[in-house]
């Protein structure tokens, strides 16, 4: 009886386990870094998380729709290269807005390419987006052959703003979650879960499966472009490979946040929590004085334990019941 209740609870709120993990991670982080919740430190930390948060939101949509996007990191690189090439220190406001629109446009095009291949041509998502990641990585290198470029300081200062005394990242996260809550309530939201859960059944009941699948990749493309904007403002410069290593963490964060890789379930709030957990683990390792050579090992081991968490709880529960 009790287990059924718990299962229902975790099904309705898949991010509950993530929330527990978050509390533990932040608790340990706070113990090791007592000034963690001071405004300056907190908003500094959050600023570092923001690009991955935006990227992960896009990845989460694709995964909920039953796919996966291995190319998001290279889209970040591509848009970053585009932005630093188009925006210079003496760009006017209109030019900057145009550049950002072009960046988002590039993200949409990249996502549309993925979407066409996966939904209309019915190619296997993981290997298709791996193939397109070469295309985007190539374009990034073509636009910006070597790291460089400088963003106007007015723009980078904007990124450091704390509107109403609340760090910008919190605002961004709140907007992302609100947008998601709104989207989930619409017909599109129901379609998304239907397509991710049971594509055949969804098709049989008249859900436009191909179109919904296509749209998830376009959304991921847009989010990748916005993540690139955040990253560009955060670093103030360009690097044609800057985003490539963000892809796999975005997948891990989604799973840590309680979204199943098989699709049809999940949410954005959990995925954002997943990003904060990943960042918090990094903080813990650096403040716990883990020897340099051990850091990668400890980091990866904690992530595996965190991923194993829900499964281990289930396993222990089953053992407890059978005995």
């Amino acid at each position: 009886m009790n287990t059924i209740k718990l299962q229902k609870l975790t099904f309705r709120h898949p991010y509950l386990f993530a929330l527990a993990l978050l509390v533990i991670a932040l608790g340990v982080n706070f113990y090791l870094q007592p000034n963690l919740f001071e405004q300056r430190v907190l908003s500094g930390n959050l600023r570092i998380f923001m690009p991955l948060m935006i990227l992960t939101a896009g990845q989460a949509i694709v995964i909920m729709g039953g796919g996966i996007d291995i190319s998001v990191g290279t889209i970040v690189s591509m848009v970053n290269a585009l932005l630093v090439t188009l925006i210079t220190r003496d760009s006017t406001a209109a030019e900057i807005i145009l550049a950002i629109s072009l960046g988002v446009g590039a993200g949409i095009l990249a996502g549309a390419l993925n979407g066409i291949c996966v939904s209309f041509l019915r190619l296997q998502p993981i290997i298709t987006t791996y193939a397109t990641s070469f295309i985007f990585a190539g374009i990034a290198l073509w636009i910006l052959p070597r790291p460089g470029g400088l963003m106007p300081s007015e723009l980078t200062r904007l990124y450091r703003a704390n509107p109403l005394g609340i760090p910008l990242t919190i605002w961004v996260a709140a907007v992302l979650i609100l947008l998601w809550v709104g989207l989930r309530a619409t017909r599109y939201g129901r379609y998304l879960f239907a397509v991710g859960g049971q594509a055949e059944a969804a098709y049989a009941t008249g859900v436009p499966v191909t179109l919904v699948r296509f749209s998830t990749y376009v959304l991921a493309g847009i989010m990748s472009a916005l993540a690139a904007l955040a990253l560009t403002l955060s670093t103030g410069t360009g690097d044609p490979r800057i985003g490539n290593d963000m892809t796999l963490p975005s997948v891990v964060a989604v799973v840590l946040g309680g979204t199943r890789l098989s699709g049809g379930q999940g949410g954005i709030a959990g995925s954002l929590i997943g990003v904060v957990i990943l960042g918090s683990i990094r903080n813990i390792i650096s403040f716990a004085n883990v020897p340099t050579w051990w850091q990668t090992f400890v980091d990866a081991s904690i992530i595996i334990v965190a991923l194993a968490g829900p499964g281990l709880v289930r396993l222990i529960r089953r053992r407890g019941q059978s005995s």
Partner: protein
């Protein structure tokens, strides 16, 4: 296309041959005997690394192994250190390396079956752990030496100018074929890949088959590391990374469906040949890196759309 029933592995093999001669037309001097031998040699390394990936993907259940790259690196570093230039240490070093790979693979398998972690993130996390182990053990200092006998047997010309790894790969391919088609494990693996419930109901111990598969994958990746070391003669910290996604691509290009339940190692071997040919051809064309990447991506997309397609929802 309906009347024409070519199996994907055969298509891939024909494509490889066509690409080779196309290379000769685009770049005179590309299609000669020594280049052919060189390409088969390079493909052999990718092919051996991809063998475990093939098994894992056939096992289904979103099966994929993202730890093979890190295990290749670990395997090469272990052999490098243990052998330390002595031919007599090759066998012990190989044994230790295969055991280490199998152990890591077994943990992957247990994480996937017992704990229920999705294979993609389980093996991705494991890749991080293996990378971490490498850093802890080496502390960034890569001491050791490959044994002279290794490069003699693996990468130097053995008979008719053909290097040993080619023969090893052919024998290896035969063994994997036997494993898949002539053993109880092979039959159970396909059964598990097609449908886990029916496999379980017909008496297959599904968790054991899955754990065995990931264990084999780890072990074969470690073997790949041994082979790669025999070719490069030196090690570095991300030696195996460049084999990770190509190992998946080789499997898919060879006609094994990512959903599991069907496929062959012959397909993967052809896939490895095709991928190696494409990369060699693009290198021979001396395109700038940006364009080389774009063309590679486009060719991969075309290859996938030829026969990497999933069934339509209407069917």
């Amino acid at each position: 296309m309906k009347g024409l029933k070519l199996s994907p592995p055969l298509v891939a093999l024909l494509l490889a041959i066509a690409l080779f001669f196309l290379g000769g037309i685009v770049r005179p001097g590309f299609a000669n005997y020594s280049q052919a031998i060189n390409i088969v040699r390079l493909a052999a390394f990718l092919g051996i690394v991809s063998a475990g990936q093939t098994l894992v993907i056939i096992s289904g259940g979103e099966g994929i192994d993202l730890s093979v790259g890190a295990i290749v690196t670990l395997g090469a570093i272990l052999v490098f250190r243990i052998v330390d230039g002595q031919n007599s240490m090759i066998i012990p070093a190989l044994a230790v390396t295969l055991l280490a790979g199998a152990g890591i693979g077994a943990i992957n398998g247990l994480g996937v079956t017992l704990v229920g972690i999705p294979p993609l993130v389980m093996t991705l996390g494991m890749a991080g752990v293996v990378q971490g182990i490498i850093l802890v053990v080496t502390q960034g200092e890569l001491i050791g030496d490959p044994a002279p006998l290794m490069s003699t047997l693996i990468s130097k010309p053995l008979i008719f100018g053909i290097p040993g790894v080619t023969f090893i790969w052919i024998v290896f391919g035969g063994l994997i074929w036997l494993l898949l088609n002539r053993t109880a494990y092979g039959k159970q693996l396909f059964a598990v890949g097609v449908n886990r419930t029916t496999a379980r109901l017909s008496g297959v111990r599904v968790p054991w088959v899955v754990v065995a598969t990931y264990t084999l994958s780890g072990m074969l990746a470690a073997l790949g590391g041994f082979m790669v070391l025999g070719f490069t003669g030196s090690v570095f910290l991300n030696l195996g990374d460049r084999y990770l996604f190509p190992s998946i691509a080789a499997v898919v290009v060879g006609g094994t469906v990512l959903a599991g339940g069907s496929g062959s190692y012959f397909g993967t071997m052809s896939g490895a040949l095709v991928l190696t040919l494409i990369t060699s051809l693009l290198t021979a064309l001396q395109l700038p890196e940006a364009f080389r990447l774009m063309v590679l991506g486009l060719i991969l997309l075309v290859l996938l759309s030829v026969y990497g397609r999933e069934r339509g929802l209407r069917q």
